[in-house]
Structure formats: C-alpha cells, structure tokens
C-alpha cells in the first residue's frame, strides 16, 4: 500500500497526489524509489463478528475447564517480520462471587488471561501481538496497563506466522457453578503492517 506524493500515471491510470493504492510489491518499490510515493501501511480487518457466543454453566466439574467459544484462523503469511495483530474481544459476565476467566490463545499460546469476580460486568480488551523482527517470534505486553507501564516481563512466544494459526477465545469458571453465563459479545482482529512487511 502506497500514498502518492505527486500526480502519477501507473500502467495507464492516473493517480492524484494524496491517493492511496495497492500495487504489486515490485511496482510499489519502484514508485517509492522514484520519490513519487511513500509506503502507507493500513490496518486490515482479519476477522470480526458480533453474533454473540454464550457459555452457560451446568454446575459440574467441567465448568472449570476452558471451552473455546470462537476460533479464528489467521492465514499463514498475513504477518510480516515487524507487523502487529490487534485482537479485541468484548466480554459480558455477571457481577458474582465466582471466578470467571477469559482467555485468548494465539497459536496455542495464551496471550491474555484475566480472571474476574465481583465488581465488573463487561470488559473490552485490546491485545497486541507483535512479530519482533521475525516471522516466528513475538513479543507481547504482558499487562492491561497500556501506556502506564507494567512490572511484568514481556510475554514471549514463538508462533510460526508463515502457516495458518488459530486465534481462540475461551472461558471457564474457577469451579462448578450453577446458572451463570459468560458471553463473548463480539470480537475484532486487525493486522497492522510493519517495516519489512
């Protein structure tokens, strides 16, 4: 994706200055080298839905095991060596004494897991999974305190993004519980290209 700095004709079509277009990489590199365009990475929506998925407890031991409500495939090759995934689930749950744990798995690795008991009934998350100068090494801010700092060390994963990977949204209770419901009301997954993408 490039942004034109000057009115330019490309393969017979006229593109005004300021317009944003997508061309094969070889053409984009030529235009950038000519100084008529700059790289203009835009976020791409990978998956999104607000259908709503509810897990209802049955007051049995199984309530304490994670169940995946939604599983989204991140196509192999989507991410570049320094690109970023933004995973945004929206959770709804009861203000109750039970421990309710929500989890997001990226390629089988938990990249966000927060238990809730009393006090709150909704949580909208933003999780950032960043390839760190590699297609198979990620660094993840291991806290909810974006911009504020965290005492936790970074979460490091080694997921091969050149092949399809699952992004799973799962929930569980701390123990068997009667008549409670946890809902993933929706999710969005965005990809932000990075340098070298």
């Amino acid at each position: 994706m490039i942004k034109f700095l000057a009115d330019t004709t490309v393969t017979g079509d006229r593109f005004p200055a300021g317009s944003i277009s997508n061309f094969p990489a070889v053409i984009e590199l030529q235009l950038i080298a000519q100084g008529v365009a700059i790289l203009c990475p835009l976020a791409v929506l990978i998956a999104q839905s607000y259908a709503g998925w509810t897990r209802s407890s049955v007051n049995a031991a199984g309530d304490a095991n994670f169940v995946t409500l939604v599983s989204v495939v991140l196509p192999g090759g989507t991410m570049g060596p320094n690109s970023r995934l933004e995973i945004c689930p929206d959770w709804d749950y009861p203000n109750s004494a039970s421990t309710k744990t929500f989890n997001v798995n990226f390629g089988g690795n938990s990249v966000g897991q927060i238990p809730q008991t009393t006090g709150n009934v909704t949580a909208d998350w933003i999780l950032q999974v960043k390839n760190a100068n590699s297609l198979s090494a990620q660094k993840i801010f291991n806290s909810i305190n974006y911009g504020l700092g965290a005492t936790n060390t970074r979460l490091v994963t080694a997921v091969d993004t050149t092949i399809d990977q699952n992004i799973d949204f799962a929930v569980k209770w701390g123990a068997a519980i009667a008549s409670e419901a946890i809902t993933l009301s929706g999710y969005s997954i965005w990809h932000y290209p990075g340098s070298g993408s």
Binding site: A51, T54, S56, V58, N65, T68, V72, D168, T183
Partner: protein, 405 residues
C-alpha cells in the same frame, strides 16, 4: 442438527457464518444460516441473547389485494410503476375526499373529484376504501375548533371544525347513505374517520368522545348496509402504536371499542375490519414492527375482535420521511415492513402516499422497482418462513436458499 459435541474444550468445527451460539455442558449449539432455512429448533431458540426471532414458520403467499397505495393527485391515479390493488381516499388533493368539500352546504354536493377517483380506480380493477372524515363547518358541533388541517392565512380561517363530530347525527346518516348509494358496488369498504387518537390541538383528527365515535360507527354501519349489506366497515384507524404494552394507542383502542354505541351495544359489534396505521416507532425502527403487530393483536383480543382481519390502511417511512432517505435506506425499510406485515397476518397494506411531497416515491424508480420485487416474491408463495433480526434485518427462506434484507 446445529448441535456439536464439545471435546477437550473445543467443537470439531467453528462455523465461519453464525448468528450466535451457546456452550453448555458438552453441547454447543450454533445458529446457522441453515437453521433459518429449515427452522430453528428448541436449542437454537434458547441461545441466550440470540439476535433473531421468528416472524413465521409458515409459507407466505399474499394476494394482490395486499398491496395498496394511496394517491393524492388525480393525474397520478394510473399509479405507474407500482402494484396497487387497493386504494384509500384519505388526503385526496385539496381535501376533495373530505365530507366538508363533498357537501359544502346542507343542500349542495360536489362529487366531481371523487367521481374521478372512484371511476378511475374501479375501472382499473382496484378495491376502494372510502374514509368518512371531515365534518363541514355548517354541520360541525364545534365549527371554529382548530385541528390538523386548520389555519389562518391573511386573517382568513380555514378548515376549522372538521375534526369535530356533527352536531346533528342525522346529517351524518344522510352523508353516509348518499355516498353508499352513489358508489354502490364500487366502494366496498368504508373506514370511519382517520387517526382518531389524535384528539387535541394542532394535530387533532377527532375531538369528540369515544361514545360519540362509537355512535357514529354504528350509524355509519346501519346507513351504509341499508344500501348495500355486502359492504364492510373498517374501524376508526389508530396511529402511534408501540411494541411496548399499555401505551396510549392501546388504551384508546380498547376504550373506543368498548364505548357505548348510543343504543344497546359497543363499537366492537359494528366493525368488520380493524384499521390501524402501522407507522414505525421513530426513527423508522422496523425491528419493532413485529412487536407492534403483537400489541395490536393483544388489543384485539381484549376487545373481543380477534377474529377480524387487521388492515394497515396507512403507513410509510416517517420521521425521517422517504425524501430524506437514500434509495437503499428506503428500500430496506419498505421491504422489511412488507414482509413483516405479511408474515404477521396483516391482510392489507396501503402505502401513504404515492405522490406525497416528502413521503412519496413517484419519482424514485429504484424504490418502485424494489417494492415490485418484494411484491413478486410475496405473491409467489416461495417464502417458506421468515425471521427478524434485532437490528431490523429480515431473513426469508425460499427453495433457492436464504435471503437477508
């Protein structure tokens, strides 16, 4: 068929398109497009927060008479571009369908415009609804009273008193009888008054009591059926319905229906058809329409008239009107409304108004074409069931698959 077994915390497949799911114990139930075709089973219907409700599980096949249109100007009576098998007289141009202009004095009558309306539509094979409305000032119980049509221009007052009942109901009898006689075998349906629950101030349509209205309905019934007993009387139309119970429109409807007719009965026994105006709750909340119809039906049951057909004698996108909607917005509201009404048992739907300044689509060919498409599928009998999404979308299944509009 939409149930999956949860094993090791996962189901064997995560459907790419689904409308919600519930995971409970070892069972996961997804609501899939296929469920909207085959019909949702109990587990699917029980999904918490499911954004879909059933409009009907039965085939929809509407007669051509379902599709109605009111038209203001006589030059537009050909209703080019639209299916319209039934028309309604309210708000003919320059008020020419109102009693005040048809009988401007006690001894003079003017049928010129009304004759043209009746004869044109009758010749076109359309059913006609005549609205008995608009008391002439000379006959009005309150001849200087303001109403929805009154005003003052250059010191001249106009249209005052027309929302009041006549001071002498024998002139009402004469008016009803005269119309029925002149248009015998042409006009088969008579609607007594218009939007009677607009009852005060600058929007008033009827300012009399429920008992007076009930008496007028009885007398209209008797006068008209004395001329032609095959005619049908449509109840005074009510507007402003809500999907929420016990709103003012409901109170008015049940109060009106149970009001004394001045003899030994109530209005309920003098009407053959229930007339309602199914304008959508603002701002054009088409997702509320099914609930609105449910409330109409509840009120019919309360009033003992549940066996009577319900006719939507007037509705359209409103606030905002169609003139401020783009084609896609208008098409969505009109299409969803028509399917919802058909699915929920409304027997006639009369759009207001083909050539209205802000509500008409005489000059909107894309909307006309889309309405024809919806009319075609509704008439075909191809719709096997219909569902409503909470965001207003409507889904219907045919043998060709699922369509969501």
């Amino acid at each position: 068929m939409t149930d999956y077994v949860i094993s090791a915390g996962r189901v064997p497949v995560y459907p790419a398109i689904n409308f919600g799911a519930e995971f409970t114990g070892s069972r996961a139930t997804f609501c899939l497009p296929a469920d909207l075709i085959a019909g949702m089973d109990a587990n699917t219907l029980a999904i918490p927060g499911l954004p879909i409700t059933v409009l009907t599980t039965s085939q929809i096949k509407m007669p051509e008479t379902f599709f109605g249109m009111s038209v203001s100007q006589r030059v537009n009576d050909n209703l080019a571009g639209v299916t319209a098998k039934i028309v309604r007289s309210h708000d003919l141009a320059n008020g020419k369908g109102r009693w005040q202009f048809i009988q401007p004095t006690a001894s003079t009558w003017d049928f010129v415009n009304l004759d043209a309306w009746v004869n044109t539509h009758y010749a076109a094979g359309r059913e006609l609804i005549f609205v008995l409305f608009g008391t002439p000032p000379w006959a009005s119980a309150r001849p200087t009273e303001a109403n929805a049509y009154s005003g003052v221009v250059g010191g001249v007052h106009y249209n005052e008193g027309i929302a009041a009942e006549p001071s002498d109901l024998t002139v009402w009898d004469t008016y009803c009888s005269t119309i029925a006689t002149r248009y015998k075998n042409k006009i088969r349906y008579y609607e007594v008054w218009n939007e009677v629950n607009l009852s005060s101030g600058a929007t008033a349509m009827f300012t009399g009591t429920n008992a007076m209205l009930s008496q007028m309905v009885r007398r209209a019934n008797q006068a008209i059926k004395a001329v032609d007993p095959t005619t049908k009387i449509i109840s005074p139309s009510i507007q402003g319905w809500s999907a929420t119970a016990n709103q003012a429109s409901e109170t008015f409807f049940t109060g009106m229906m149970s009001a004394s007719d001045g003899a030994s009965g109530t209005m309920a026994q003098w009407v053959d058809i229930i007339g309602v105006h199914l304008y959508l709750p603002s701002p054009n909340k088409v997702q509320d329409l099914a609930g609105v119809i449910d409330r109409v039906n509840a009120c019919k049951t309360t009033s003992g008239v549940s066996a009577l057909e319900t006719w939507d004698t007037e509705s359209a996108p409103i606030s905002p009107d169609i003139s401020t909607l783009n084609d896609d917005q208008a098409k969505a509201i009109i299409g969803r409304s028509m399917i919802t009404m058909a699915a929920k048992g409304i027997k006639r739907h009369i759009y207001y108004q083909y050539d209205h300044g802000t509500m008409g689509f005489i000059n909107r060919p894309q909307i006309q074409e889309y309405r024809e498409q919806i009319a075609t599928v509704l008439r075909s009998g191809r719709i096997l069931n219909a569902h409503r999404f909470t965001d207003g979308r409507v889904a219907y299944a045919t043998e060709s698959g699922l369509t969501i509009i």
